[in-house]
Symmetry: C2
Subunit: 254 residues, 2 copies
Protein backbone atom coordinates (compact mmCIF):
# COMPACT_ATOMS: atom_id res chain seq x y z
CA UNK A 1 0.00 0.00 0.00
CA UNK A 2 1.06 3.57 -0.59
CA UNK A 3 2.62 5.81 1.97
CA UNK A 4 0.70 8.53 3.62
CA UNK A 5 0.83 11.64 1.52
CA UNK A 6 2.92 14.41 3.04
CA UNK A 7 0.23 16.79 1.82
CA UNK A 8 -2.19 15.13 4.21
CA UNK A 9 -0.24 13.96 7.21
CA UNK A 10 -2.13 11.41 9.18
CA UNK A 11 -3.26 13.34 12.18
CA UNK A 12 -4.12 10.74 14.73
CA UNK A 13 -7.17 11.38 16.90
CA UNK A 14 -5.94 12.11 20.41
CA UNK A 15 -6.92 9.52 23.03
CA UNK A 16 -9.05 12.11 24.80
CA UNK A 17 -11.53 14.48 23.20
CA UNK A 18 -10.26 17.09 25.63
CA UNK A 19 -7.16 17.33 23.47
CA UNK A 20 -9.01 17.47 20.18
CA UNK A 21 -7.13 19.59 17.69
CA UNK A 22 -10.35 20.53 15.93
CA UNK A 23 -11.98 21.89 19.06
CA UNK A 24 -8.97 24.04 19.70
CA UNK A 25 -9.18 25.54 16.23
CA UNK A 26 -11.91 27.88 17.35
CA UNK A 27 -14.22 26.98 14.47
CA UNK A 28 -16.51 24.84 16.60
CA UNK A 29 -18.90 25.59 19.40
CA UNK A 30 -17.31 25.12 22.82
CA UNK A 31 -18.71 22.30 24.90
CA UNK A 32 -18.83 21.84 28.65
CA UNK A 33 -16.30 19.38 30.09
CA UNK A 34 -18.98 16.95 31.25
CA UNK A 35 -20.54 16.88 27.78
CA UNK A 36 -17.11 16.26 26.36
CA UNK A 37 -16.79 13.31 28.72
CA UNK A 38 -20.04 11.94 27.39
CA UNK A 39 -18.90 12.37 23.80
CA UNK A 40 -15.67 10.63 24.64
CA UNK A 41 -17.64 7.74 26.07
CA UNK A 42 -19.83 7.63 23.01
CA UNK A 43 -16.74 7.44 20.83
CA UNK A 44 -15.73 3.80 20.85
CA UNK A 45 -12.65 3.89 18.68
CA UNK A 46 -10.70 5.71 16.07
CA UNK A 47 -9.96 4.49 12.62
CA UNK A 48 -7.75 5.32 9.68
CA UNK A 49 -8.77 4.88 6.07
CA UNK A 50 -6.34 5.21 3.21
CA UNK A 51 -6.98 7.47 0.26
CA UNK A 52 -9.36 5.74 -2.11
CA UNK A 53 -10.75 3.47 0.59
CA UNK A 54 -14.44 3.18 1.42
CA UNK A 55 -15.82 4.63 4.64
CA UNK A 56 -19.27 3.43 3.69
CA UNK A 57 -20.15 1.32 0.71
CA UNK A 58 -23.18 1.90 -1.48
CA UNK A 59 -25.99 -0.35 -0.23
CA UNK A 60 -24.11 -1.17 2.91
CA UNK A 61 -26.25 -1.99 5.91
CA UNK A 62 -25.60 -0.93 9.48
CA UNK A 63 -22.75 1.42 8.77
CA UNK A 64 -21.11 3.28 11.63
CA UNK A 65 -21.38 6.89 12.65
CA UNK A 66 -18.14 8.87 12.45
CA UNK A 67 -16.69 12.27 12.77
CA UNK A 68 -14.04 13.04 10.20
CA UNK A 69 -11.03 14.15 12.21
CA UNK A 70 -8.54 14.75 9.43
CA UNK A 71 -8.49 14.32 5.69
CA UNK A 72 -11.10 14.67 2.97
CA UNK A 73 -13.85 12.32 1.86
CA UNK A 74 -16.90 12.53 -0.36
CA UNK A 75 -20.38 11.10 -0.54
CA UNK A 76 -21.50 9.77 -3.91
CA UNK A 77 -24.15 7.77 -5.71
CA UNK A 78 -23.69 5.85 -8.90
CA UNK A 79 -25.65 4.23 -11.68
CA UNK A 80 -25.14 0.69 -12.88
CA UNK A 81 -23.22 1.73 -15.97
CA UNK A 82 -20.62 3.52 -13.93
CA UNK A 83 -21.86 7.09 -14.08
CA UNK A 84 -21.13 8.62 -10.73
CA UNK A 85 -22.33 11.75 -8.98
CA UNK A 86 -20.47 13.20 -6.04
CA UNK A 87 -23.06 14.60 -3.65
CA UNK A 88 -20.82 16.64 -1.37
CA UNK A 89 -17.36 16.76 0.07
CA UNK A 90 -16.61 16.00 3.68
CA UNK A 91 -13.97 17.98 5.53
CA UNK A 92 -12.55 17.74 9.04
CA UNK A 93 -15.28 18.19 11.63
CA UNK A 94 -18.04 16.78 9.45
CA UNK A 95 -20.34 14.11 10.80
CA UNK A 96 -20.42 11.08 8.57
CA UNK A 97 -22.95 8.34 8.19
CA UNK A 98 -25.96 9.82 9.90
CA UNK A 99 -28.42 8.57 7.33
CA UNK A 100 -27.48 4.93 7.82
CA UNK A 101 -27.75 5.27 11.54
CA UNK A 102 -31.51 5.23 11.20
CA UNK A 103 -31.43 1.52 10.59
CA UNK A 104 -31.55 1.71 6.86
CA UNK A 105 -29.48 0.69 3.93
CA UNK A 106 -27.03 3.32 2.86
CA UNK A 107 -28.11 4.63 -0.49
CA UNK A 108 -24.84 6.41 -1.04
CA UNK A 109 -21.21 5.52 -0.69
CA UNK A 110 -18.55 7.48 1.15
CA UNK A 111 -14.97 7.33 -0.06
CA UNK A 112 -11.78 8.72 1.38
CA UNK A 113 -10.17 11.25 -0.91
CA UNK A 114 -7.02 11.44 1.17
CA UNK A 115 -5.90 9.35 4.07
CA UNK A 116 -8.45 9.99 6.77
CA UNK A 117 -8.66 9.66 10.50
CA UNK A 118 -12.07 9.09 11.97
CA UNK A 119 -13.60 9.08 15.42
CA UNK A 120 -15.98 6.14 15.44
CA UNK A 121 -19.13 6.29 17.54
CA UNK A 122 -21.07 3.52 19.14
CA UNK A 123 -23.34 1.74 16.76
CA UNK A 124 -27.11 1.84 17.22
CA UNK A 125 -26.93 4.19 20.12
CA UNK A 126 -27.87 7.40 18.44
CA UNK A 127 -31.16 7.30 20.26
CA UNK A 128 -29.29 7.17 23.57
CA UNK A 129 -27.49 10.34 22.63
CA UNK A 130 -30.75 12.13 22.01
CA UNK A 131 -32.24 10.85 25.23
CA UNK A 132 -29.31 11.56 27.48
CA UNK A 133 -28.00 14.71 25.86
CA UNK A 134 -30.73 16.48 23.93
CA UNK A 135 -28.31 19.27 23.23
CA UNK A 136 -26.15 16.89 21.23
CA UNK A 137 -29.23 15.67 19.42
CA UNK A 138 -30.01 19.23 18.54
CA UNK A 139 -26.46 19.69 17.27
CA UNK A 140 -26.69 16.55 15.17
CA UNK A 141 -29.85 17.88 13.56
CA UNK A 142 -28.07 21.14 12.88
CA UNK A 143 -25.27 19.24 11.18
CA UNK A 144 -27.77 17.26 9.16
CA UNK A 145 -29.56 20.39 8.01
CA UNK A 146 -26.24 22.00 7.24
CA UNK A 147 -25.11 19.11 5.10
CA UNK A 148 -28.42 19.21 3.28
CA UNK A 149 -27.84 22.85 2.46
CA UNK A 150 -24.57 21.85 0.79
CA UNK A 151 -26.41 19.32 -1.32
CA UNK A 152 -28.99 21.99 -2.13
CA UNK A 153 -26.21 24.24 -3.37
CA UNK A 154 -24.76 21.47 -5.47
CA UNK A 155 -28.13 20.69 -6.97
CA UNK A 156 -28.60 24.31 -8.03
CA UNK A 157 -25.10 24.27 -9.48
CA UNK A 158 -25.56 21.05 -11.38
CA UNK A 159 -29.06 21.79 -12.55
CA UNK A 160 -28.81 25.42 -13.53
CA UNK A 161 -25.25 26.67 -13.85
CA UNK A 162 -23.12 26.29 -16.96
CA UNK A 163 -19.71 24.67 -16.93
CA UNK A 164 -17.74 27.83 -16.16
CA UNK A 165 -20.07 28.81 -13.37
CA UNK A 166 -19.95 25.31 -11.93
CA UNK A 167 -16.19 25.21 -11.73
CA UNK A 168 -16.00 28.70 -10.25
CA UNK A 169 -18.57 27.68 -7.66
CA UNK A 170 -16.71 24.57 -6.66
CA UNK A 171 -13.44 26.43 -6.19
CA UNK A 172 -15.05 29.18 -4.16
CA UNK A 173 -17.13 26.89 -2.05
CA UNK A 174 -14.36 24.52 -1.08
CA UNK A 175 -11.92 27.32 -0.44
CA UNK A 176 -14.35 29.03 1.85
CA UNK A 177 -15.10 25.88 3.81
CA UNK A 178 -11.42 25.18 4.27
CA UNK A 179 -10.79 28.74 5.31
CA UNK A 180 -13.37 28.45 8.05
CA UNK A 181 -11.69 25.50 9.65
CA UNK A 182 -8.33 27.22 9.44
CA UNK A 183 -6.77 25.23 6.64
CA UNK A 184 -5.51 28.13 4.54
CA UNK A 185 -1.73 28.45 4.51
CA UNK A 186 0.08 31.18 2.59
CA UNK A 187 -3.06 31.91 0.64
CA UNK A 188 -3.38 28.34 -0.57
CA UNK A 189 -5.31 25.29 0.50
CA UNK A 190 -4.54 21.62 -0.02
CA UNK A 191 -6.58 20.40 -2.95
CA UNK A 192 -6.56 16.63 -3.36
CA UNK A 193 -9.26 16.37 -6.03
CA UNK A 194 -8.32 15.23 -9.47
CA UNK A 195 -10.26 16.40 -12.50
CA UNK A 196 -12.40 13.28 -12.52
CA UNK A 197 -13.58 14.10 -9.01
CA UNK A 198 -14.42 17.63 -10.07
CA UNK A 199 -16.27 16.33 -13.12
CA UNK A 200 -18.24 13.87 -11.00
CA UNK A 201 -19.14 16.57 -8.51
CA UNK A 202 -20.30 19.01 -11.17
CA UNK A 203 -22.12 16.63 -13.51
CA UNK A 204 -19.68 17.33 -16.34
CA UNK A 205 -17.49 15.12 -18.48
CA UNK A 206 -13.83 14.84 -17.68
CA UNK A 207 -12.75 16.52 -20.91
CA UNK A 208 -15.05 19.47 -20.56
CA UNK A 209 -14.02 19.90 -16.96
CA UNK A 210 -10.41 20.04 -18.03
CA UNK A 211 -11.06 22.64 -20.68
CA UNK A 212 -13.10 24.77 -18.34
CA UNK A 213 -10.54 24.61 -15.55
CA UNK A 214 -7.86 25.47 -18.04
CA UNK A 215 -9.74 28.49 -19.26
CA UNK A 216 -10.26 29.87 -15.77
CA UNK A 217 -6.65 29.28 -14.96
CA UNK A 218 -5.45 31.00 -18.16
CA UNK A 219 -7.69 33.93 -17.30
CA UNK A 220 -5.71 34.21 -14.10
CA UNK A 221 -8.58 33.39 -11.78
CA UNK A 222 -6.93 30.56 -9.95
CA UNK A 223 -3.78 28.50 -9.77
CA UNK A 224 -3.71 24.79 -9.10
CA UNK A 225 -0.33 23.18 -8.64
CA UNK A 226 1.46 20.76 -6.39
CA UNK A 227 -1.87 19.68 -5.05
CA UNK A 228 -2.65 23.14 -3.69
CA UNK A 229 -5.21 25.69 -4.79
CA UNK A 230 -4.75 29.45 -4.81
CA UNK A 231 -7.54 31.83 -5.75
CA UNK A 232 -6.07 34.74 -7.69
CA UNK A 233 -9.23 36.69 -8.40
CA UNK A 234 -11.84 35.95 -5.82
CA UNK A 235 -14.05 38.77 -6.95
CA UNK A 236 -14.25 37.53 -10.53
CA UNK A 237 -14.85 33.95 -9.40
CA UNK A 238 -17.62 35.06 -7.08
CA UNK A 239 -19.24 37.08 -9.83
CA UNK A 240 -19.09 34.20 -12.29
CA UNK A 241 -20.48 31.70 -9.83
CA UNK A 242 -22.90 34.15 -8.28
CA UNK A 243 -21.40 33.02 -5.04
CA UNK A 244 -22.55 34.67 -1.85
CA UNK A 245 -20.46 34.36 1.22
CA UNK A 246 -22.53 33.56 4.25
CA UNK A 247 -21.33 34.90 7.55
CA UNK A 248 -19.22 32.37 9.40
CA UNK A 249 -20.80 30.64 12.31
CA UNK A 250 -19.51 28.29 14.95
CA UNK A 251 -20.41 24.73 14.01
CA UNK A 252 -21.18 21.98 16.45
CA UNK A 253 -18.67 19.16 16.63
CA UNK A 254 -19.63 15.79 17.94
Amino acid sequence: MNDLSPQFPLQACPPSCHNCRLRKSGAFTPVKPEVLDFIEGFRVSTMGVEAGGALVRENQTNAQLFTLYSGWAFRYKSLSDGRRQILNFLLPGDLVGLQQEFGEVSTHGIEALTDCMLCVFQNDSLWDVFREHPRLGYDITWLSAHEESHVDDNLLTTGRRNATERVAMLLMHLYQRLERIGLVEDGTVAFPLNQQHIADALGLSLVHTNKTLRRLSLLGLHELKNGRLRLLNTRALARIAEYYDTPPRLMPLL
Copy 2:
Protein backbone atom coordinates in the same frame (compact mmCIF):
# COMPACT_ATOMS: atom_id res chain seq x y z
CA MET B 1 -58.14 35.25 -5.92
CA ASN B 2 -58.84 31.88 -7.46
CA ASP B 3 -61.04 29.27 -5.94
CA LEU B 4 -59.66 26.22 -4.32
CA SER B 5 -59.07 23.59 -6.93
CA PRO B 6 -61.45 20.65 -6.72
CA GLN B 7 -58.42 18.48 -7.43
CA PHE B 8 -56.93 19.60 -4.16
CA PRO B 9 -59.75 20.27 -1.77
CA LEU B 10 -58.65 22.35 1.13
CA GLN B 11 -58.47 19.86 3.91
CA ALA B 12 -58.52 21.91 7.02
CA CYS B 13 -56.30 20.81 9.87
CA PRO B 14 -58.52 19.51 12.63
CA PRO B 15 -58.47 21.51 15.86
CA SER B 16 -56.94 18.58 17.70
CA CYS B 17 -54.02 16.49 16.53
CA HIS B 18 -55.90 13.51 17.92
CA ASN B 19 -58.15 13.76 14.90
CA CYS B 20 -55.37 14.19 12.39
CA ARG B 21 -56.32 12.60 9.09
CA LEU B 22 -52.67 11.92 8.26
CA ARG B 23 -52.06 9.96 11.43
CA LYS B 24 -55.06 7.82 10.70
CA SER B 25 -53.73 6.99 7.24
CA GLY B 26 -51.41 4.39 8.70
CA ALA B 27 -48.36 5.76 6.91
CA PHE B 28 -46.93 7.39 10.00
CA THR B 29 -45.50 6.06 13.21
CA PRO B 30 -48.07 5.95 16.00
CA VAL B 31 -47.48 8.27 18.89
CA LYS B 32 -48.54 8.02 22.51
CA PRO B 33 -51.48 10.25 23.52
CA GLU B 34 -49.37 12.34 25.89
CA VAL B 35 -46.82 13.00 23.17
CA LEU B 36 -49.65 13.97 20.89
CA ASP B 37 -50.77 16.43 23.53
CA PHE B 38 -47.31 17.94 23.57
CA ILE B 39 -47.28 18.21 19.79
CA GLU B 40 -50.67 19.87 19.89
CA GLY B 41 -49.33 22.37 22.39
CA PHE B 42 -46.30 22.99 20.22
CA ARG B 43 -48.57 23.69 17.28
CA VAL B 44 -49.64 27.29 17.65
CA SER B 45 -51.88 27.68 14.66
CA THR B 46 -52.85 26.43 11.28
CA MET B 47 -52.53 28.30 8.06
CA GLY B 48 -53.70 28.10 4.49
CA VAL B 49 -51.64 29.18 1.52
CA GLU B 50 -53.03 29.44 -1.97
CA ALA B 51 -51.44 27.78 -4.94
CA GLY B 52 -48.49 29.87 -6.06
CA GLY B 53 -48.07 31.55 -2.70
CA ALA B 54 -44.83 31.57 -0.73
CA LEU B 55 -44.49 29.50 2.43
CA VAL B 56 -40.96 30.75 2.85
CA ARG B 57 -39.25 33.38 0.74
CA GLU B 58 -35.68 33.11 -0.48
CA ASN B 59 -33.46 35.01 1.98
CA GLN B 60 -36.27 35.29 4.49
CA THR B 61 -35.17 35.48 8.09
CA ASN B 62 -36.84 33.77 11.03
CA ALA B 63 -39.28 31.69 9.04
CA GLN B 64 -41.67 29.38 10.82
CA LEU B 65 -41.62 25.63 11.19
CA PHE B 66 -44.57 23.81 9.63
CA THR B 67 -45.94 20.44 8.83
CA LEU B 68 -47.63 20.24 5.48
CA TYR B 69 -51.08 18.88 6.20
CA SER B 70 -52.57 18.87 2.74
CA GLY B 71 -51.46 19.99 -0.69
CA TRP B 72 -48.14 20.10 -2.47
CA ALA B 73 -45.24 22.53 -2.22
CA PHE B 74 -41.65 22.65 -3.36
CA ARG B 75 -38.32 23.98 -2.18
CA TYR B 76 -36.27 25.89 -4.72
CA LYS B 77 -33.26 28.11 -5.19
CA SER B 78 -32.76 30.60 -7.96
CA LEU B 79 -30.10 32.68 -9.64
CA SER B 80 -30.31 36.39 -10.26
CA ASP B 81 -31.14 36.01 -13.95
CA GLY B 82 -34.19 33.92 -13.15
CA ARG B 83 -32.86 30.42 -13.60
CA ARG B 84 -34.54 28.33 -10.97
CA GLN B 85 -33.85 24.88 -9.56
CA ILE B 86 -36.49 22.96 -7.66
CA LEU B 87 -34.72 21.05 -4.91
CA ASN B 88 -37.49 18.70 -3.87
CA PHE B 89 -41.23 18.41 -3.62
CA LEU B 90 -43.09 18.50 -0.34
CA LEU B 91 -46.11 16.28 0.18
CA PRO B 92 -48.55 15.90 3.06
CA GLY B 93 -46.75 14.89 6.22
CA ASP B 94 -43.48 16.60 5.31
CA LEU B 95 -41.82 18.89 7.79
CA VAL B 96 -41.14 22.29 6.31
CA GLY B 97 -38.68 24.98 7.25
CA LEU B 98 -36.33 23.12 9.52
CA GLN B 99 -33.23 24.76 8.11
CA GLN B 100 -34.37 28.28 8.93
CA GLU B 101 -35.26 27.23 12.44
CA PHE B 102 -31.59 27.23 13.32
CA GLY B 103 -31.59 30.98 13.43
CA GLU B 104 -30.31 31.49 9.96
CA VAL B 105 -31.40 33.08 6.75
CA SER B 106 -33.31 30.78 4.51
CA THR B 107 -31.19 30.07 1.50
CA HIS B 108 -34.07 28.54 -0.38
CA GLY B 109 -37.66 29.46 -1.02
CA ILE B 110 -40.72 27.29 -0.50
CA GLU B 111 -43.74 27.76 -2.71
CA ALA B 112 -47.19 26.22 -2.63
CA LEU B 113 -47.93 24.22 -5.74
CA THR B 114 -51.56 23.73 -4.81
CA ASP B 115 -53.58 25.25 -2.06
CA CYS B 116 -51.98 24.05 1.12
CA MET B 117 -52.95 23.67 4.72
CA LEU B 118 -50.16 23.85 7.26
CA CYS B 119 -49.78 23.17 10.95
CA VAL B 120 -47.62 25.97 12.25
CA PHE B 121 -45.29 25.34 15.16
CA GLN B 122 -44.04 27.71 17.76
CA ASN B 123 -41.20 29.84 16.62
CA ASP B 124 -37.75 29.55 18.19
CA SER B 125 -38.76 26.70 20.41
CA LEU B 126 -37.23 23.84 18.51
CA TRP B 127 -34.68 23.50 21.25
CA ASP B 128 -37.49 23.06 23.78
CA VAL B 129 -38.81 20.17 21.74
CA PHE B 130 -35.47 18.44 21.85
CA ARG B 131 -35.11 19.06 25.57
CA GLU B 132 -38.57 18.01 26.61
CA HIS B 133 -39.21 15.27 24.12
CA PRO B 134 -35.96 13.82 22.84
CA ARG B 135 -37.95 11.28 20.89
CA LEU B 136 -39.45 14.05 18.80
CA GLY B 137 -36.00 15.49 18.31
CA TYR B 138 -34.88 12.14 17.05
CA ASP B 139 -37.83 12.04 14.68
CA ILE B 140 -37.06 15.50 13.40
CA THR B 141 -33.53 14.40 12.65
CA TRP B 142 -34.90 11.39 10.83
CA LEU B 143 -37.08 13.65 8.73
CA SER B 144 -34.15 15.91 8.01
CA ALA B 145 -31.99 12.99 6.90
CA HIS B 146 -34.86 11.65 4.85
CA GLU B 147 -35.35 14.91 3.04
CA GLU B 148 -31.64 15.06 2.35
CA SER B 149 -31.84 11.66 0.72
CA HIS B 150 -34.45 13.05 -1.66
CA VAL B 151 -32.13 15.86 -2.58
CA ASP B 152 -29.35 13.31 -3.03
CA ASP B 153 -31.53 11.43 -5.48
CA ASN B 154 -32.34 14.58 -7.37
CA LEU B 155 -28.70 15.53 -7.56
CA LEU B 156 -27.82 12.17 -9.08
CA THR B 157 -30.68 12.59 -11.52
CA THR B 158 -29.76 16.11 -12.53
CA GLY B 159 -26.05 15.48 -12.67
CA ARG B 160 -25.88 12.12 -14.36
CA ARG B 161 -29.12 11.06 -16.01
CA ASN B 162 -30.17 12.11 -19.51
CA ALA B 163 -33.48 13.80 -20.23
CA THR B 164 -35.48 10.60 -20.72
CA GLU B 165 -34.11 9.04 -17.58
CA ARG B 166 -34.79 12.19 -15.61
CA VAL B 167 -38.42 12.37 -16.58
CA ALA B 168 -38.96 8.68 -15.92
CA MET B 169 -37.34 9.10 -12.52
CA LEU B 170 -39.53 12.02 -11.58
CA LEU B 171 -42.72 10.22 -12.50
CA MET B 172 -41.74 7.07 -10.64
CA HIS B 173 -40.49 8.87 -7.59
CA LEU B 174 -43.50 11.09 -7.10
CA TYR B 175 -45.93 8.30 -7.79
CA GLN B 176 -44.30 6.11 -5.21
CA ARG B 177 -44.27 8.82 -2.56
CA LEU B 178 -47.94 9.52 -3.14
CA GLU B 179 -48.74 5.85 -3.05
CA ARG B 180 -47.16 5.54 0.38
CA ILE B 181 -49.33 8.19 1.88
CA GLY B 182 -52.40 6.65 0.33
CA LEU B 183 -53.08 9.18 -2.39
CA VAL B 184 -53.54 6.75 -5.28
CA GLU B 185 -57.11 6.56 -6.58
CA ASP B 186 -58.16 4.32 -9.45
CA GLY B 187 -54.55 3.87 -10.43
CA THR B 188 -53.96 7.59 -10.76
CA VAL B 189 -52.55 10.32 -8.59
CA ALA B 190 -53.23 14.03 -8.62
CA PHE B 191 -50.41 15.72 -10.47
CA PRO B 192 -50.43 19.50 -10.14
CA LEU B 193 -47.03 20.16 -11.75
CA ASN B 194 -46.89 21.98 -15.02
CA GLN B 195 -44.06 21.36 -17.46
CA GLN B 196 -42.12 24.35 -16.23
CA HIS B 197 -42.06 22.84 -12.74
CA ILE B 198 -40.83 19.56 -14.15
CA ALA B 199 -38.16 21.34 -16.16
CA ASP B 200 -37.03 23.29 -13.11
CA ALA B 201 -36.88 20.14 -11.02
CA LEU B 202 -34.87 18.22 -13.59
CA GLY B 203 -32.49 20.93 -14.76
CA LEU B 204 -33.89 20.88 -18.29
CA SER B 205 -35.38 23.53 -20.55
CA LEU B 206 -39.12 23.77 -20.88
CA VAL B 207 -39.11 22.78 -24.54
CA HIS B 208 -36.92 19.76 -24.07
CA THR B 209 -39.00 18.65 -21.13
CA ASN B 210 -42.08 18.84 -23.27
CA LYS B 211 -40.56 16.76 -26.04
CA THR B 212 -39.29 14.16 -23.62
CA LEU B 213 -42.61 13.87 -21.78
CA ARG B 214 -44.36 13.58 -25.13
CA ARG B 215 -42.08 10.76 -26.24
CA LEU B 216 -42.64 8.75 -23.08
CA SER B 217 -46.34 9.30 -23.34
CA LEU B 218 -46.44 8.24 -27.02
CA LEU B 219 -44.50 5.13 -26.07
CA GLY B 220 -47.36 4.33 -23.76
CA LEU B 221 -45.38 4.60 -20.56
CA HIS B 222 -47.62 7.09 -18.84
CA GLU B 223 -50.69 9.18 -19.24
CA LEU B 224 -51.10 12.68 -17.96
CA LYS B 225 -54.49 14.28 -18.24
CA ASN B 226 -56.97 16.29 -16.25
CA GLY B 227 -54.24 16.98 -13.76
CA ARG B 228 -53.83 13.31 -12.91
CA LEU B 229 -50.97 10.92 -13.62
CA ARG B 230 -51.31 7.25 -14.51
CA LEU B 231 -48.29 5.01 -14.96
CA LEU B 232 -49.00 2.58 -17.77
CA ASN B 233 -45.72 0.70 -17.82
CA THR B 234 -44.06 0.87 -14.46
CA ARG B 235 -41.52 -1.78 -15.35
CA ALA B 236 -40.26 0.12 -18.38
CA LEU B 237 -40.15 3.39 -16.48
CA ALA B 238 -38.22 1.78 -13.66
CA ARG B 239 -35.75 0.28 -16.10
CA ILE B 240 -35.20 3.57 -17.89
CA ALA B 241 -34.74 5.52 -14.70
CA GLU B 242 -32.85 2.74 -12.95
CA TYR B 243 -35.31 3.29 -10.19
CA TYR B 244 -35.17 1.03 -7.18
CA ASP B 245 -38.10 0.83 -4.90
CA THR B 246 -37.10 0.97 -1.29
CA PRO B 247 -39.21 -0.93 1.18
CA PRO B 248 -41.88 1.27 2.71
CA ARG B 249 -41.33 2.37 6.24
CA LEU B 250 -43.44 4.24 8.73
CA MET B 251 -42.41 7.86 8.82
CA PRO B 252 -42.52 10.10 11.84
CA LEU B 253 -45.05 12.90 11.76
CA LEU B 254 -44.60 15.92 13.91
